[in-house]
């Protein structure tokens, strides 16, 4: 493992440089039979063949890596060094709200790590109280009447919400007649995918020149066959849907339900509530707005809030409070008459619910309002700075927590993104939303300082300057990352999806 220097020798040297060729080893390639890191307690006793029957046993132990503790540590410490992260890099990934994840949340989560979902409820009153409080804080924050904490991610929240809408229409005898879900063409892919999973036909409405949903196009497709409209507000262009109250009126006029994809809540938290906008169902991404870590792509956490008319359709269980003369007691509420059922095992991503709760308690209501204020301030400031740096902003107006830009004509977003890597800066979201060509979707979040925003803009300006001088530079970047541009076609055409151990 030494042979791969963390950063290769790049100065011209005359002998061939071995380590430039060396691949970073897999943990399997560092292994050797007989090595081990951890030492569990071992109970002596009967042979498993006697206890379980030899037929039930596997032929040979799984070929997992066998490494010493130090080799294990070196491997995953070095791997951590081959990874950009919020804690080390500016990471303005649009739509993902990559804000600072407070360390105190981790301390809080540790306090609850070892309780079990099937303990006697009287022995987990603290956990239940926390969940109950969180339910009610999220009701307040979203302006909804009831919350389920169960969904495991945003998309899972969407599924929960659309299933409830379907159950609601079913209960109203409209299950068969409402067959469509409307989503804007700028919507995140999970929105149409969710609608399909619930058996709906997806109808896309275009984006108007303003960057908002084309309200006339919406009217054209909105009728009694529509089960729901799914919107993000602000939308994926970072623009607030100014017609939201009108859209809500139109939707409800034809009996459709209005679904709020809460991925962009960071723009409005503490300042405006989807419930007040007329949404019937809301999901929140606690891993975005509420700082729960989701390294590598998850876990998310996607609580769903509903208006009163949908509360009877929530998944089971919710957390209830019982106030008796003996005091207050918390328990699971399984008594939800028309419940859609259950979205996952147990009660949700509890560890992350603790973190989100900790975050809300730290900030309080005023603090939450500052979050959206500073997030929107940062994004607008950066929009101006990127324009100054030479980038296009197709929908150039006051944006919310994020905005979409484009490289100058003739340049590719992909190339810009790759060039940024050498500056130690993580690129923005690229090629999303689909409605903007060469989209660069930038979301700086409220935890970034003015100096970081300025430096980010300088990096982007510098990339353009270099590209002018040396047109090839952009196509070749990055130069200084652990690996350089990857052959993605090969990955898909000849899929290698696991380490193949030698036959032994």
């Amino acid at each position: 493992m030494i042979k791969e220097p963390e950063a290769p020798v790049t100065t011209p040297i005359t002998t061939s440089s071995k380590q430039l060729e060396a691949d970073f080893p897999l943990i399997f390639e560092r292994a050797k039979p007989g090595r081990r890191a951890a030492h569990p307690p071992v109970r002596e006793g009967a042979d498993l063949a006697d206890l379980l029957g030899a037929d039930n046993l596997r032929q040979s132990p799984p070929k997992l890596p066998e490494v010493s503790e130090l080799d294990l540590v070196r491997h995953y410490t070095q791997l951590a060094h081959r990874q950009m992260s919020i804690d080390a890099n500016a990471y303005f990934l649009g739509s993902c709200t990559m804000k600072y994840n407070p360390k105190v949340n981790e301390e809080a989560a540790k306090l609850f790590a070892d309780i079990h979902p099937y303990q006697d409820p009287d022995s987990v009153q603290g956990a239940l109280e926390l969940l109950y409080n969180l339910q009610s804080y999220l009701e307040q924050i979203t302006g909804m009447d009831a919350i389920t904490l169960q969904p495991a991610a945003g998309a899972h929240g969407e599924l929960t919400g659309i299933l409830m809408i379907r159950a609601y229409h079913d209960a109203n005898g409209e299950g068969d007649t409402r067959t469509k879900v409307i989503v804007p063409d700028g919507a995140h892919g999970t929105n149409p995918a969710t609608a399909t999973m619930v058996g709906y036909k997806v109808v896309e409405v275009p984006t108007a020149a303003s960057g908002e949903v084309d309200i006339n196009a919406l009217k054209d497709v909105l009728d009694e066959s529509v089960a729901a409209i799914m919107l993000t507000n602000p939308n994926t262009l970072g623009i607030f849907e100014t017609n939201i109250l009108e859209i809500s009126r139109l939707a409800h006029e034809v009996g459709a339900q209005l679904y709020y994809d809460g991925a962009n809540t960071n723009a409005i938290v503490g300042r405006a509530r989807p419930g007040d906008m007329g949404f019937d169902v809301v999901h929140l991404n606690l891993h975005k707005t509420f700082t729960t870590p989701h390294g590598g792509g998850g876990p998310g956490t996607g609580p769903v809030g509903v208006k009163a008319h949908l509360a009877d359709f929530l998944p089971k269980p919710r957390i209830k409070q019982e106030v008796t003369t003996d005091g207050t007691r918390f328990d699971f509420d399984e008594d939800i008459p028309h419940s859609i059922g259950r979205m996952r095992s147990y009660y949700g991503n509890f560890g992350n619910l603790v973190r989100a709760y900790t975050y809300i308690c730290a900030l309080g209501c005023e603090g939450l309002k500052d979050v959206s204020g500073m997030a929107v301030l940062n994004a607008n400031y950066l929009r101006i700075k990127l324009k100054e740096a030479g980038y296009n902003v197709p929908f150039d107006r006051i944006n919310m927590h994020e905005f979409v830009a484009q490289p100058p004509d003739g340049l590719k977003t992909l190339d810009i993104a790759k060039a940024m890597l050498d500056y130690g800066v993580h690129p923005m979201t690229v090629y999303f939303p689909l409605v903007v060509k060469e989209a660069m979707m930038v979301e700086p979040t409220e935890t970034e300082s003015l100096e970081t925003l300025d430096a980010y803009a300088e990096v982007l300006a510098d990339v353009l300057k270099r590209a002018e001088h040396d047109p090839d530079f952009l196509h070749e970047a990055p130069f200084d990352t652990p690996v350089r541009r990857l052959d993605e076609v090969k990955a898909a055409r000849q899929p290698v999806l696991r380490y193949a151990s030698e036959p032994s």
Binding site: R58, R82, Q83, D114, P192, G341
Partner: protein, 461 residues
């Protein structure tokens, strides 16, 4: 302002650059009626008060020890080195590896994860993780329906009740029928399953060890399933695969399950992660992210998200699933943990758990408790003279946390599931046996139900 860097001068400067005169002006697009909602959340706290509040809440919980609670989640040994490595902030505060050049850390770790899950289950293709075991069962059923274009799913009641509920929730709007097959004498009968089979069946889903803890005859069940052209879906405890026959060995097409036992704390049930591995034939139907190996322009090995044409961000309404964020960080904990334990450690954990559970069962029987005999792994059923939730509560009063209630739908009367792991010490066993004897004996005569017939012990036990 917690976590915010903005000084008043910063704000003034930025507003000037933007050309507006207040923060509120940035929100002018919002209809007036939406502004200034009344949000009833307590005022913010300093860090000491904050942690004191959380500690006060935590103090209202009792933390189980001894690994006696099961039911899909169990406390197992996690070496100190595991969270130290998996929770490095470079891993924790990254997101989906969209830029592979600067995400080799997590991409490679995920590739290692996929390799380990493939190794454990014997099935060659693993996705990068899913939400949990229950939702993975539902996704597996959907996969089978897509692949076979059939619309009936047969499932044994040995599958975790919550997984069956989740599957029912997912499948309902798609008009997919579910045929539940009850256990006979604690396990799934191949005969009874066979009676349910036909060429409209997309898949048969069986859990091993089943929810009650007993081993299923997976090979014959798989054979019967394949006879009608359906897919066999094995729901497995991945830790048990250190010693039990792998899904590949008995011919499963899909293996799914919950990964908590591989190195995540019990966390009151989440987050853990779901896993799914499949045969090569099912690769293009697999939901969720997949990491593949490739090379970079210099020819160096590198890892990247691949085969994304299955996913929602590319295929939108035609995607295989709507899943986007998965449970990668929990899967990373498992990856590091499996590497820390190695095969030997994993075998030790599984073996010690089985031995502890069998010792517990023997001791309970010796104290005249009604253990339901069968070939069980590290969980098993005890019938009780009181309602299960009462037993659990009374045990908790002894500061023993044990006894997952068995639903009446199993037809076993009042009964609890007990578990044991390598963390179960002799004292834990003695205390549980004593407490349970006391609780079970100490009951009004007229409350006693007749226990159902004791199931015959399986031959080789």
């Amino acid at each position: 302002m917690h976590y915010l860097p903005h000084t008043p001068e910063d704000i003034a400067h930025m507003l000037e650059v933007i050309g507006v005169d207040s923060i509120d002006a940035l929100f002018a697009d919002m209809p007036q009626a939406l502004h200034n909602p009344n949000i009833n959340v307590p005022a913010g706290l300093d860090e000491v008060s904050l942690l004191n509040h959380l500690r006060d809440l935590a103090a209202k919980n009792q933390t189980p020890t001894g690994g006696l609670l099961g039911g899909g989640t169990r406390q197992h040994f996690i070496p100190s080195v595991t969270p130290h490595l998996a929770m490095q902030s470079e891993f924790v505060t990254a997101y989906t590896p969209y830029q592979p050049e600067v995400a080799q850390g997590l991409l490679q770790a995920t590739f290692e994860y996929q390799s380990m899950m493939a190794e454990l289950t014997g099935l060659p293709i693993s996705n990068a993780s899913m939400y949990d075991g229950a939702s993975s069962v539902a996704e597996a059923a959907l996969l089978a329906v897509r692949q076979t274009k059939r619309k009936r799913v047969v499932v044994s009641t040995g599958v975790h009740p919550e997984a069956r509920e989740v599957m029912a929730t997912y499948l309902k709007p798609l008009d997919i029928a579910i045929s539940e097959v009850n256990l006979e004498q604690l396990t799934t009968s191949t005969d009874v399953i066979s009676n349910e089979l036909g060429d409209d069946v997309a898949c048969v889903i069986v859990q091993n060890p089943n929810f009650l803890g007993y081993l299923e005859t997976m090979p014959t069940l798989a054979e019967a399933t394949h006879d009608v052209g359906a897919l066999f879906i094995a729901v497995v405890d991945p830790l048990s695969l250190a010693v039990l026959a792998s899904p590949a060995e008995y011919g499963a097409d899909i293996a799914v399950g919950d990964g908590q036992v591989l190195g995540n704390p019990t966390n009151f049930g989440g987050p853990s992660f779901g896993f799914m591995t499949v045969t090569d034939a099912l690769l293009r139907q697999l939901p969720g992210r997949i990491v593949g190996e490739t090379t970079d322009v210099d020819g160096k090995r590198a890892f990247v998200l691949t085969l994304q044409a299955r996913e929602q961000h590319i295929r939108r309404s035609k995607a295989k699933s709507n899943i986007c964020s998965n449970h990668q960080l929990a899967a990373l904990m498992a990856t590091v943990n499996m590497a820390a334990l190695g095969p030997q450690g994993l075998v030790e954990l599984a073996t010690s758990s089985v031995r502890a559970a069998h010792t517990l069962a023997n001791k309970l029987e010796a104290s005249s408790l009604n253990v339901l005999r069968g070939t069980f792994f590290n969980e098993f059923v005890v019938q009780t003279n009181r309602p299960a939730t009462d037993v659990r509560r009374l045990l908790a009063e002894h500061n023993i946390h044990a006894g997952v209630p068995v639903s009446p739908s199993y037809g076993l009367g009042d009964a609890i599931i007990l578990a044991a792991t390598e963390l179960t010490q002799d004292d834990d066993i003695i205390n549980l046996v004593d407490a349970l004897s006391e609780i079970d004996a100490n009951i009004d005569a007229n409350q006693v139900d007749t226990p159902v017939e004791k199931v015959l012990e399986v031959a080789h036990d």
